[in-house]
Amino acid sequence: MKEKEKGTSGLLTRRGALVAGAVAVGGVLVARRFPKILPPTCGNVLRAGDSFTYGMQKALLSDRALVKEYRPEDLTSFPATGTTDPGANPKEKELSESYRRLRDAAFADWRLPVGGRVAKPREFSLAELKQFPSRTQITRHSCEEGWSAIGQWTGVPLSALLDAVGVLPSARFVLFTAYDGWIDSIDMLDARHPQTILAYGMNGRDLPIPHGAPIRLRVERQMGYKSMKFLRSVTVTDKFEDGGEKGNIQLGWAWYTGI
């Protein structure tokens, strides 16, 4: 009986050591790639969960993997949700007025300031953005509500724009504002991702107003609401910044939506 107990405890130790070893090795590998800067939780346990998911996805998944691209025959109908015309948005009077003026002049006077932690901040007109080498991709838009739609997007890779203004080495995030009052940011890995584009074309035509004219963002590895419509400005930042009271986190939504 004594010998059996000894044998059992030996097995237990070996199994315990195996499990502890596997967990420790996994933990070290994850910790090495876990992001150093996490979004603030504002004391909310759900936001802490979002941050954990963000860290784990960054630690475990490849930075550069491309999302699946579809064929032209895969295009589907596409609902326009949220703000469908900032020119008729009673919640944002000043922005609505400016958007109306731009829209009525076919966006000829629209300018996109790109600034913040960059060497040469400047503004881009729609024509100037179209002079950059373009990228066209047929991708799936996945809405947090549960639906999805496939569209073809043509635009400038954000990384080309960032190169043109010279991002400073300390920069970590890119913050966007929009004419519908939306403010949100993405990290530099998503900003530099080859499929992250500022789209001016949809399904081979100019981007329609309900889908974000004149320019919308496409962040293909996250949920649809990160692909902001009606872009107004781009700001590169060192610290985490998502618009404070007008940003997702304080409004009660996940900042990172890779899941």
């Binding site: 059992t8 097995l11 237990l12 199994r15 195996l18 499990v19 596997a22 967990v23 346990v45 759900l46 936001r47 802490a48 969960g49 979002d50 954990f52 998911t53 996805q57 998944l61 490849s62 993997a65 491309l66 999302v67 699946k68 579809y70 895969d74 295009l75 589907t76 109908s77 596409f78 609902p79 326009a80 949700t81 469908t84 799936r140 996945s142 809405c143 947090e144 509500e145 549960g146 639906w147 999805s148 739609a149 496939i150 569209g151 949809m202 399904n203 081979g204 035509r205 329609p208 309900p210 889908h211 590895r221 996250q222 949920m223 009660g252 939504w253 996940a254 939506t257 890779g258 899941i259």
Partner: protein, 254 residues
């Protein structure tokens, strides 16, 4: 032979091993929160589809009357989205939908970590320690049609023998646990991850395997319904086979 909990997770019919009780507790709590938040998420878009994409402007496989969003129809007139008049369309949504996904989604994923991490540890320990081999996995020679039929009839007549409060398990019991541990739970995790754009960027075969994000979502829903059925039957069996003893065996382990 009287002895303490053995390394296979069985204290010889006298309650469950500590690691079994602990993972059962965490996973039970996680599954309850997953079911609650999952239902909220489904309420926001109570339409299911099959294939790569699906939305209010495409036909549904199934529509569930579980929130005010059910067949709300709040859209402007559709306009073509390509040069082809019969091609895809766009329409502006005018209806103010029910949407509590701000907390619903985050709670779902937070709870999912408490399923995934203890679940993986449970699988590791169950495989290494022999718990699955000795107690969970049905023996091939027991899987004779006559035995299955006999056990089934006994269950349907609610002739449930008083439990010993831990393994050994009956034949149907083993089959049910094996199905949940090795089929349903992994399927829930896999179809859930197939809905993550960051995960499928790295593992696109998930989309191909399940036939698209919307097929994965539909399988996720039906599997959750099967798991709910399991939970109901499981609780009925616990009550019928000696509630106090069973609860003691799975909590304090005696």
């Amino acid at each position: 032979m009287a002895e303490g909990p053995d390394q296979a997770g069985s204290p010889g019919g006298e309650g469950h091993a500590r690691w079994v009780r602990l993972s059962h507790g965490i996973i039970t709590l996680s599954v309850l929160i997953l079911a609650f938040s999952g239902f909220e998420i489904l309420m926001v878009h109570p339409r299911l589809y099959w294939g790569k994409a699906g939305n209010d402007l495409t036909p549904a496989l199934l529509e569930l009357p579980i929130s005010r969003n059910y067949k709300h129809g709040g859209y402007d007139k559709p306009v073509p989205l390509t040069e082809r008049a019969s091609g895809p369309v766009s329409a502006n949504r005018t209806y103010d939908i029910f949407n509590e996904n701000g907390w619903g989604r985050s709670l779902h994923f937070l709870a999912a970590w408490f399923l995934l991490l203890p679940g993986l540890l449970y699988l590791l320990l169950g495989l290494l320690g022999g718990h699955f081999r000795s107690h969970i996995w049905p023996r091939v020679r027991d899987l004779a049609p006559r035995q299955i039929w006999g056990d089934l009839v006994a269950h349907l007549r609610l002739r449930i023998p008083a439990a010993s409060g831990g393994p050994r398990y009956g034949l149907l019991q083993k089959c049910a646990y094996s199905f949940v541990i090795f089929v349903a739970a992994p399927l829930m995790v896999a179809t859930g991850l197939t809905m993550s754009p960051a995960v499928t960027a790295v593992f696109p075969f998930l989309l191909d395997f399940f036939g698209g994000i919307q097929s994965a979502r539909t399988i996720h829903f039906f599997t959750s319904a099967v798991l709910l059925l399991f939970v109901i039957v499981h609780v009925v069996m616990v009550v019928r086979s000696g509630f106090r003893r069973q609860i003691r065996a799975m909590t304090v382990g005696r």
